[in-house]
Amino acid sequence: MSRPDRTIILDARALSRALQRMAVEVLELAHGTDDLVLIGIQRRGVELAERIARLIEQDEGVVVPRGALDITLYRDDLETVGPKPVIGETRIPGALAGKHVVIVDDVLYTGRTVRAALDELADFGRPKRISLCVLVDRGGRELPIQPDIVGKQVKVNNGERVDVLVEELDGRDEVDLVRQGAPT
């Protein structure tokens, strides 16, 4: 068995700076907070959306509506998964019609999760615009989907993966590059 091999890409301070920059970019993209809604994708996207919303609130002094989206039931590989994935909470804050929805997720990879999220959001209403904000873009897209806001671009080789850890769920803020086979 090979030794666990973890390289820290972002430590807690770097992650915090990345989120602050992302919060500013969200504000610019949405031209303020008037129609802004942040939707985090379960699970870690929900925490990240919450952090970005709080950063915006500190700067702007207004409450930013945020929600959570679990895309499990919209996955295109549900047929192929053996034991069924546990489904998380979906919570949409009010009607989405006319809103600028910013989807927040931890890692952007194949784009299939975002495809599912777009389909699911469409069943909740017709936002005037949907944007995509991710902490890490690791490349490897299988669908024509691109992010609007990226915290960090990471080049990932074969046999490696990106782990995003957040204080609320994992006890610390950190983004790691992990060699496959290492314990999660």
């Binding site: 679990d70 499990t72 039931l73 919209y74 996955r75 590989d77 549900l78 047929e79 192929t80 998964v81 053996g82 034991p83 069924k84 994935p85 546990v86 489904i87 998380g88 909470e89 979906t90 919570r91 890692v107 952007l108 990879y109 194949t110 299939r112 999760t113 389909d119 699911e120 069943d123 909740f124 209403g125 490897g140 299988e142």
Partner: protein
């Protein structure tokens, strides 16, 4: 994150472990929200064909299953015993095999014979879900009752639940008893001696001869339907006497030390087993049970729907989901 498997069929709660029951209840939680959406539909079972095979009259259960199936985007066909080839003498297995030859994925079956669901599940490849078989079990009713108790009391362990009425003939009672005991509830039964199964104490169930004692003991009363033909069969002297002795009335509940949660699997006989003031009262969760029924059935369909693990391995090689 993946969940422990459930097996091919859902025949009864007797066959499930506490963890499997908890998995179904936990999976039902997010499905409650789906029914509150503007578009009450998710694509999880797109392309699956489900046959609702009802050899016995049913409104609530059949409609609840049908809503659950449709809200998961499955295609559904309803087959009732009357007006089908069953009337012409076709056997259960032949009916099911003919349906399978049309490439179906799941069968939801209600049948007057105990054991029919398991019998069918052992003979066809499709998933089989028991929607009530004779006096045996009605597992999705048991599950929705568990979910409703958990919603109301925040837990099931340690809650005292008394089943009132015709326990002897009730598949709802049987599924409730198995599910409640597995999840650590205390279970009681109350009714005329003629309608309580002999030796039920051996399962760890308390027996109450008087409804007043049951009310004093319980946190939850699950009032079972009294089938009126029981009177003709001599199990009870008369409906009026039954109501006088065992009816769950507002007067009786007023004497209880604490508010009592009132459940009923429906359809209700108002003024026979339950007083209208109780059924419509502030502690009745009878309509919550109906709402939860759809969520629980969605959870069961989702968890049983044939995943194809062999395709999962192929998908892993090609990246898979992030």
């Amino acid at each position: 994150m993946t969940a422990p498997p459930l097996g091919k069929d859902l025949v009864g709660l007797e066959d499930l472990s506490a963890d499997q029951i908890r998995l179904i209840l936990d999976t039902a939680e997010p499905f409650k929200e789906v029914s509150e959406r503007p578009i009450k539909k998710v694509p999880a079972l797109r392309g699956k064909t489900i046959v609702n095979l009802f050899f016995e009259a049913s409104t609530r259960t059949r409609i609840s299953f049908e809503f659950a199936e449709k809200r998961l985007s499955a295609d559904t066909v309803n087959v009732a015993a009357s007006g089908s080839s069953v009337q012409k003498g076709e056997t259960l297995v032949d009916t099911a095999r003919n349906l399978e030859a049309m490439r179906i994925d799941m069968v939801v079956i209600r049948h007057p014979s105990s054991g029919a669901a398991e019998f069918l599940g052992n003979r066809i490849r499709s998933n089989v879900i028991n929607a009530g078989d004779g006096k045996h079990e009605h597992p999705t009713q048991g599950l929705l009752d568990l979910l409703t108790i958990r919603d109301k009391h925040g837990r099931i362990e340690g809650i005292k639940v008394c089943l009132v009425g015709d326990v002897l003939h009730s598949r709802v009672a049987r599924s409730n008893i198995w599910g409640l005991l597995k999840l650590g509830a205390e279970v009681g039964v109350c009714g005329p001696d003629t309608l309580l199964p002999r030796g039920i104490e051996e399962l760890g169930v308390c027996r109450f001869r008087r409804i007043e004692e049951a009310i004093e003991w319980a946190d939850v009363l699950n009032v079972l339907r009294l089938q009126l033909e029981r009177m003709e069969m001599g199990f009870i002297p008369s409906v009026r006497e039954y109501y006088r002795v065992f009816g769950v009335t507002a007067e009786r509940l007023e004497k209880a030390a604490r508010p009592m949660t009132i459940m009923h699997p429906g359809p209700m006989n108002r003024g026979v087993e339950i007083d209208s003031r109780v059924a419509d009262g502030p502690h009745s969760v009878i309509l919550d049970q109906v709402t939860n029924g759809v969520a629980v059935r969605m959870a069961v369909l989702y968890l049983l729907a044939g995943g194809r693990p062999e395709l999962a391995d192929a998908a892993k090689g090609a990246g898979g989901p992030e």
